[in-house]
Structures are given as C-alpha cells and as structure tokens.
C-alpha cells in the first residue's frame, strides 16, 4: 500500500539580486525539477545524489518545511500542500525528519529531556522520555544532559528519539550517518533498521554514500541536477545500472579491498550549476556513453520504464554503457603500476 506519493515536485529558489538588492535578479536555482516517486508502507526509498543534486530539497519540501514551487505530495491520501496550518500540524505528527548534523540540529540550551518533551507537549501526547531513550539505546541518565556533553553518535540517537516521540509512520532521514565515524555509523544504521522492523516505519533515506544506501534501502532513486535519472529496486540498480551517471557513480566508490580489480570511470568536470542547467539531458556534458549523440544535447530524456520496475532517463538506456566502453575514454585508462 502506498503511503507517500510525490507527483512532479518542483522547487526553485529565486535568484538573488546583485548590487545589494538593487540590480537585476539572477537566474532561479532549479533545485528540484519535476520529481515523482511513491513509497509503499514499511519500505525504504534511498534517494542518492551528490551535493547540489536537490535530494535534501526534496525531503524538506515534501514535509512542507519549505513551500513548493509546484507539484503535489500525497501522504496517506492527504494533499500535504493543500492543508491549513492546524491540519498540517496534525499531519506532521505522522511524518518526521532526522537531520544530518547532530551538532546543529539540537538546541544547545535544552537538556535531552526538554528536547524530547517538546514535541510531546506540542502534540498533547503522553509519552515517557525514559522509554524513548531506552529504545534508541541510551541510558535514562542521559535525560539530564546537554548536547555538548554527548558524542556525535549519542546526539544522533537523541535526534532519532525526538523524531520517534510523536510515533510517526514516515521519517525522512536526511544524511543521518554521514557526520559519524564508521564504527558509530554502523550502530546508528543498525538502530534505524531495528526501529523500522519494530514500528513498521517507512523511510525516505537521503544520502550521498551508495554503500550505506545499499545497506538500508529497498528501492533506490538517483538524482542529478534536480531530476531523478534512475530508479529501481536496490539489488537491481547495483547489479545492472541503466543510466551512465549511476554506472559512473557506482564505479567511483572506493572499495575496502586492495585486490578489487574494479574498472573506474572518472567523470570529467563538475556538476553544472542548477541555475543554468544544460539543454537536453542534464548529464550530457559529462556523459561517457559511447552512443552519446545530438539528441542528448537537445532532447530531455523522460524517466521511463526499461524493464519492469526499473526506470531510467537516458535515450540509450536499452543498451546501457559498460565499464569497458568507458575504458576507451582517455580519463579512464587503467591505473599504472
């Protein structure tokens, strides 16, 4: 059963005016440019992309932490963008967010207890702070502490406890482990998995780390310059990527195995600015696909099904680029030694 449905979501940030607000406005930043997906109840969608791809804007706009430019989000059948303030607040109880930076997302002047008590009071709920702490693996003694007395991993557990306090069905996890060390990251990922199983939670898991996403997600969507360029069940997208950007991204992840004989695709250049996206396929200036043509430079490829449940926005997704294809490019010669 679908719990969350996003239809053609658009979020543009207006360009700032130059000359201290007197000059002509700059081009708007098209952070999210027509994104659609659904998440079934109890499942995890991993939303992957590099900085500036628009993944965080998707998460925040969905929860209406910022107003959308266009599009629709249905949560359990409710149109999130059409609700008045009172009903939005009621709905917020069911959808929560865990932020990336456990250092800046907790109020330094509130104890852990006060932080966890606040959402309960707003939503007039009864709940025990000690039970919440126990659920996220913290001793009840932490209730009296302030954020500066906690480590990064402990703070992130408090952030998770705060999200859980109102008993939501859906949690947007926005890079929840990327600020943590690897040993602590594993603790928090295991905790998120346990909580999902126990409380039947639905997650949108936003991350730049493809290995982390593989570990936690049922389905994966890859974003590039405000658009989803590929979406598929996790096992499928890692085994058989269809979009050349996904292929390159997967190949670029350093593997903790010195014997890995992985062919690496090193993409040239940087991601273009979302204020001035290229015409045609947004990826074409960096695309190493051997079939790249004039069509890529002029026509935006639609996100369309290639096989059942596997969508890709590439004109040549039927014949996906292989690592061997990319090896012919000058940048991707095998490493010396």
């Amino acid at each position: 059963m679908t719990l969350v449905e996003v239809q053609d979501l658009v979020k543009h940030y207006p360009g700032e005016r130059s000359w201290f607000g007197l000059g002509a406005p700059r081009a708007a930043v098209r952070a999210v440019d027509g994104v659609s997906f659904t998440i079934a109840s109890g499942r995890t969608l991993g939303l992957v992309g590099e900085s500036g791809s628009g993944k965080t804007s998707v998460g925040r706009t969905m929860l209406r932490l910022q107003e959308p430019t266009a599009g629709k989000v249905l949560f359990d059948g409710n149109d999130v963008f059409a609700l008045d303030a009172a009903r939005l607040r009621a709905l917020r109880r069911r959808m929560q967010i865990v932020f990336q930076d456990p250092y800046s997302s907790l109020n330094p002047r509130m104890t852990v207890e006060a932080t966890l008590r606040e959402p309960l009071e707003i939503h007039r709920l009864n709940g025990a702070v000690s039970a919440l702490l126990e659920e996220v693996g913290l001793d009840a003694a932490f209730a009296k502490r302030y954020p500066h007395e906690l480590s990064g991993g402990q703070r992130q557990r408090v952030g998770i406890a705060r999200a859980l306090s109102v008993e939501p069905q859906f949690i947007v996890c926005d890079e929840p482990v990327s600020a943590l060390d690897v040993s602590v990251q594993a603790q928090v990922l295991n905790l998120l998995a346990d909580l999902q199983a126990k409380r039947r939670l639905t997650y949108l898991f936003i991350a730049h780390d493809l290995a982390v996403v593989r570990h936690i997600a049922d389905d994966v969507a890859v974003m590039y310059l405000g658009k989803i360029v590929e979406r598929a069940p996790a096992a499928e997208i890692y085994a058989q990527p269809r979009h050349p950007y996904t292929t390159a991204l997967l190949s670029a992840v350093p593997e903790p195995n010195p014997r890995a004989t992985k062919q690496r695709i090193v993409l040239a250049g940087d991601m273009p600015s979302a204020a001035h996206p290229p015409a045609g396929c947004p990826f074409h200036p960096r695309c190493p696909h051997p079939m790249k043509s004039d069509r890529c430079r002029t026509e935006v490829p639609a996100l369309r099904p290639i096989t059942t449940g596997h969508l890709a926005a590439c004109h040549y997704a039927q014949s996906p680029m292989t690592l061997a294809d990319a090896a012919h490019q000058p940048l991707n010669r095998p490493r010396h030694q």
Partner: protein, 347 residues
C-alpha cells in the same frame, strides 16, 4: 616499546622520513588535564611509497601530520622532548625557524581537507601557487607566474592561462583542491602529506582527485603520507598502512596483509563495520561504545573496553607492537598475537 618493524631488512631502501616516539600533548581548558592526542607514535616513510594513516576522529592522525611540520599550535599543544622526526637524517624538531621554513612547503608539503578554508580568499590562485616558488626557488614574479600556469595545467585545470587570475570563490570544490595540490607540488617536494584530501568532495570528484594524486606521484616520484578515515581510499591507494587508535599505532602492515589478515580487533571491527557496495550485509558489525577522551585513556590496552576478546591481561598491561610474523613488517599492539587461541568473541 618496540618500534614498528620496517619492511624486511635485506633490500630496505633508506628511510626518507623517520618518526620515533612522537608525543604531542595538549593542555586543556578548565583544568581537565592533559590530552595525550599523539602518544608514542613511530613509523617510517620510504621514498616513492604511499603510507596510509587510518583512524577515526580523535585517534591522533591529524595531530601526527601537523607535528611533522611543526604546525601544532603552541600553546596549548606541545611536542614532548624525546620525540624524533627525522627527514633525510635531520631532526625537524631541532631545527631553527629559518631552517624549518626551508623544508616546509619546499621538501615536505601538505594539503588539507577543506580547500576553501586553506586558501586565502583575497589573493588570486595564481599568486598563492607562485608564492612558494618565489620564496623557495627565488623565481621572479614573471617566472613564478609561468610556473603557476604550468602547475595548473599539470593538475588538470582547463584554461590555466585564465584560471590563474581567478579567486578561490570562483572555483568549485574539486577545482580548489586541484589548486591546493598545485600549490603543494610547485617546489617538487619529496614528501606530500595529504590530510583527508577528498573527504569534503563528492564521490565522482574524489575519484578525479585520487587519480590525479596517483598520476602526479608516479610522475614526480614523491612519497605520500595519506591520512584518511576511509578504508576504501586506503585500499586503493596506499602501499602500507598504519592504523591509529587512541593516540597509539595499533597495527601496521602492507595494505594487502592488513585487509586480508587484520590482526588487531579494532582493525577487524572497523573493516566489518563498513557497508559494502559489492554485497549487502544483513547486519553491520558495530563496535560498541565510543572512543574514550584523550584526557583519560583507559589503563592497559586502550581498546579493551570495546574489545570482544579482552581478558584480564588486556586490562592490566598494555601490549607493545608485536610482530605478527609475516616477514613484511606486519605488527599489532595486541596480546592476541602471543595468545591467538583467545580470539573467541565473548559477546
């Protein structure tokens, strides 16, 4: 304390940079005591090789790298007497300020994690790259500018003749890191210290920068000290690895040996905690607890409170770096080396 063994004796090349018994402590505020950030660290760097220093936040890897070039702010920090940092036979810790300046940026150069905060926003990148060549090689401004353009080309910046007049804010993160590398390499240093050089970058840009470093190392023949928390980066780019925990070297080995036969339980746990892209694991192995504070390292083995194998001896007595016996310098600071039958997890 046993020194970490250098690669097998016979054909061992001369050591380029020898670090012995390095101790860098910090006096903390509010009288909380002394933070023993780097506590008796020893390793060797040989010409042309890449030595990875791996560890999590607070293990002392960055302070180690800063100590080499004496960049630790004093106070609150200080390198203790008895520490030795020997570069081509000279103890850097004993050099006068002008002598040290002749080494720093010239023969040993460094790049940092955050290229935006390490570049000066009010000078063009060309001026900043050229500065080292003017100081160390006494080039004229004009010649230094030409060298700067050449360096920008070497690090793969398109249109170097134009980019040389850009300010840092006009460049992307990946381009700024290339500028940092150009700055570090303009004097053709013998040692490059790269402290988390790709941590602030996206994965596709990280791949570009790592490939660039590999290529430049190959072309210029320098040794690289690669400091990182990322075991994947180490696996792909280091020849040998030093693993640090709680201010100590806990394991050292060739890269292949470290990944094939991690001997210290911390190394073993770290490898098991990394989510893998090549296979989905049902559950990640988490190391319980967290790194203790540098003002209060645990007695005995500093890892024992988090170790699944620890027994009485580990609490009572800290092990030295013990030779793991592969003949290639593999050593671990763990009593399991002498009592391997105890490698049975308690939990």
């Amino acid at each position: 304390m046993t020194a970490p063994a250098a690669p097998a004796a016979p054909a061992a090349p001369p050591v380029l940079l020898r670090v012995r018994d390095l101790k860098t402590y910090f006096v903390t505020e509010h009288g909380k005591g002394t933070a023993r950030a780097v506590d008796d660290v020893s390793f060797d760097l040989f010409p042309g090789e890449t030595l990875g220093i791996v560890g999590e936040s607070g293990c002392g890897k960055t302070v180690t790298s800063l100590s080499i070039l004496r960049l630790v702010p004093e106070p609150p920090g200080h390198v203790l007497p008895g520490s030795l940092i020997e570069f081509e036979g000279r103890n850097l810790l004993a050099l006068s300020a002008p002598e040290l300046r002749a080494v720093r940026g010239n023969q040993i150069a460094m790049i940092f994690q955050e290229p935006m905060t390490s570049l000066n926003p009010v000078f063009t990148v060309g001026d900043q790259i050229a500065e080292a060549a003017i100081i160390h090689q006494h080039l004229s401004r004009r010649a230094a500018r030409a060298r700067a353009i050449e360096m920008l080309r070497l690090v793969g910046i398109p249109d170097p003749d134009e980019r040389v007049d850009d300010y840092p804010h006009q460049l992307s993160g990946g381009m700024r890191q290339r500028v940092m590398i150009a700055m570090a390499l303009i004097c053709h240093p013998k040692v490059l210290i790269a402290d988390e050089p790709t941590t602030a970058l996206d994965v596709t840009i990280q791949a570009q920068i790592l490939e660039l470093l590999d290529r430049l190392q190959h072309e210029l023949g320098m040794a690289v000290l690669l400091i990182t928390h990322d075991l994947g980066v180490v696996a792909g780019h280091a020849d040998r690895v030093v693993v640090m925990y709680a201010g100590r070297v806990v394991e050292t080995a060739t890269t292949d040996a470290l990944f094939e036969q991690p001997t210290h339980p911390y190394t073993e746990g770290l490898l098991a905690a990394v989510p893998r892209i090549d296979a989905r694991r049902a559950r990640l192995h988490a190391i319980p607890g967290q790194v203790p504070a540098a003002t209060a390292w645990p007695p005995g083995c500093r890892f024992h409170p988090r170790c699944p194998y620890a027994w009485e001896k580990c609490v009572a007595e800290e092990p030295p770096l013990l030779d793991a016996g592969d003949g290639a310098g593999h050593a671990a600071r763990c009593w399991l080396v002498t009592e391997p039958e105890r490698r049975v997890p308690k939990r």
